[in-house]
Amino acid sequence: MANTIGGLALDSRWTKASELHVTREESKLATLELHRLKPFFPNGLQRGSLLEITGAKSSGRTSTSLYILAESISRGETCAFIDLNNAFHPASLPKAEVGLNHLCWVRCNGNTEHALRSADLLLHAGGFGVVLLDLCGARPQTLNRIPLSYWFRFQRAIEHTPTILLICAEQPQARSCARYSLAIKNRKFHWKGKEPFAILTALESTAQNNKVSSIRPEPLLIQTGEA
């Protein structure tokens, strides 16, 4: 049956734009398996995708981001950390003694433009496993001024490459460009012993992958030391 638009009959081989089904091509590269984040990413992270981790202070967003970075480094990949507010604590990276050798750290001294341009340069240079763009602590007014086209540009830069762009911020930034969006909320801190001899042992949070509606908030336990 022929389509009609404005009284004009169209050939049956033409399809209306509204009926088009845009399918996203799956990457043929092996995914990045995250054993401790299996409830949120059951199939691992697709290569060439953009992941957002959002949460408030002390929610565990940095710990989760560094865990993903360490997972990538443990596979022998080189990673990059773009640090907007010079807040990265190198010793906090899991397996830091090996991992730091394969990490490029860019400190941007609070300059958002430098952070975004550095991310652009690193993504276009290629060859990185995970590029972490840490925008935590940036003023919301500054982040709101970032045009959406930046995120589309980043998404296009990593498409069909083995690189994963990880954005860590307080609020979602990349919106529709992000393939995964993990929102983390602080629940409680675990202490051992009584004051004044108490010791912090873990942070319990809840996390939810907002891009997969079927996955409900799951608890996320972040310990103070490596097991």
Binding site: S63, H89, L200
Partner: protein, 425 residues
């Protein structure tokens, strides 16, 4: 076919002059010169005619030398050393001709591969000449003497085929240029430097070399003011575009203070880095591309803000240095077993007002942080480097505030002032 001229107590230049009449590619070994006569077959004729031409050239130069012509350079050299006059060997008869040579001659020919201890062993076996050695089975020799035994036997049989070992003159990787008019802008200077860098990189690649260092000297219009810069590349480079871009980024950051009258560009050659990528290894950034990217980022955020962190061997909080580039070696390790609580540091630490009740912090106020302490842990006393100017002494606390965040705060022992060091995240 190869010809070898051998002469004792004759200047090496004279031997070389005679050999150079017949071939531009001459191997020099001690008192020998060896060259290929294959291209002369069409110009002069048979090996006999070539030999007589070489003899005539030697006679004209009054060169008392022995000449040997054989199918391979080693046989030609050995024969010219041992036999006086002209020795011609047809291909396949090297073994017969070399047969009377004493073994010591072979050991004197190649003292690097053939050690005197090997000669002693062979003499004890009763092997004295090349004929004796050639008669031994190769398999048995390799079992008893290894690779050196096989090499020695093949030398005695005259069956080693190898190209001539030619000594190439070391190329110069420096270009100097005096300009007719002084250049004030960077762009025309870079245009000239691009040509020079392209020429130097072409020379490097022709010699299978790469550059590890770049030296640039600019003669400025101001008297006595010269501009020099030295760039050290973390990986050897031979791509003119990359080198020029790195130079451009450096000159943009550190511009010469006056118009440029002349320049001298030098590249320090080294062996290029050849790393074979594995099929099953994860991809890593191309070293030259990464270097360029890091230089671009360094030009934007400052060189001190880019690099790979290295933890220092000290208990001093936040002690690290930055090295220029990440390691290229693949070092797979075990993935982390747990999520580990990380800290986000405040650099510099935030000055804080802390209300202390019963020796424990109760209220905290700092830039952007204000709250009542719900739970605390501490204090932990740390100190160190008391022998140097970077000494520290502090009492650290972990405090959970009513805003839901958990901070690491500390009080300096010397000043009793409070600071917020980090937030757990």
């Amino acid at each position: 076919m190869y010809a070898s001229l051998s002469a004792n107590n004759v200047p090496a230049a004279l031997l070389l002059a005679v050999a150079s009449r017949f071939s531009p590619q001459v191997e020099r070994t001690g008192q020998n010169v060896t060259f290929s006569i294959a291209p002369l077959r069409q110009l002069i004729g048979s090996p006999h005619q070539i030999a007589s031409e070489i003899c005539r050239a030697g006679y004209e130069c009054k060169l008392p030398a022995s000449l040997a012509i054989a199918a391979n350079p080693d046989s030609a050299i050995l024969l010219s050393r041992h036999f006086t006059g002209v020795t011609m060997v047809t291909p396949g008869e090297e073994r017969l001709k070399l047969a009377p040579l004493p073994l010591a001659e072979l050991f004197a020919y190649d003292p690097v591969k053939l050690t005197p201890s090997l000669l002693e062993i062979l003499l004890r076996w009763g092997v004295k000449t090349c004929e004796d050695l050639a008669a031994l089975p190769e398999k048995g020799l390799s079992e008893r003497l290894g690779a050196a035994g096989i090499y020695l036997r093949r030398l005695a049989c005259g069956t080693i085929q190898r190209p001539l070992r030619l000594k190439t003159e070391r190329s110069s990787y420096t270009i100097e240029k005096e300009l007719e008019d002084s250049l004030e802008l960077l762009e025309p200077l870079l245009f000239l430097l691009s040509r020079a860098a392209g020429e130097l990189c072409h020379r490097l690649r022709a010699q299978s070399q790469a550059a590890r260092e770049l030296d640039l000297q600019l003669t400025l219009d101001e008297k006595g003011a010269d501009y020099t810069c030295r760039l050290e590349f973390p990986v050897p480079l031979s791509d003119a575009r990359t080198i020029l871009k790195l130079l451009q980024l450096h000159l943009e950051r550190h511009a010469p203070g006056a118009p440029v009258r002349a320049f001298r560009l030098h590249l320090e050659p080294v062996e290029p880095q050849r790393v074979q990528g594995g099929i099953f290894l994860p991809p890593t950034p191309a070293p030259d591309k990464l270097q360029l990217t890091m230089a671009r980022i360094a030009g934007m955020v400052g060189a001190e803000n880019v690099g790979t962190p290295v933890l220092l061997n000290t208990h001093r909080p936040d002690a690290f240095t930055l090295t220029p580039l990440p390691g290229s070696a693949h070092a797979e390790n075990q993935p982390p077993e747990t999520l580990r609580l990380a800290m986000r540091l405040f650099r510099p630490a935030l000055h804080a007002q802390v209300q202390v009740v019963q020796l424990a912090p109760k209220n905290l106020a700092a830039s952007g942080i204000r709250g009542h302490v719900l739970r605390h842990a501490g204090p932990w006393k740390t100190s160190g480097d008391w022998w140097s100017s970077t000494s520290w002494s502090r009492e650290e606390w972990d405090v959970a505030l009513d805003d839901g965040a958990l901070y690491r705060i500390y009080q300096e022992s010397a000043s009793s002032e409070w600071f917020v060091h980090a937030v757990y995240d």
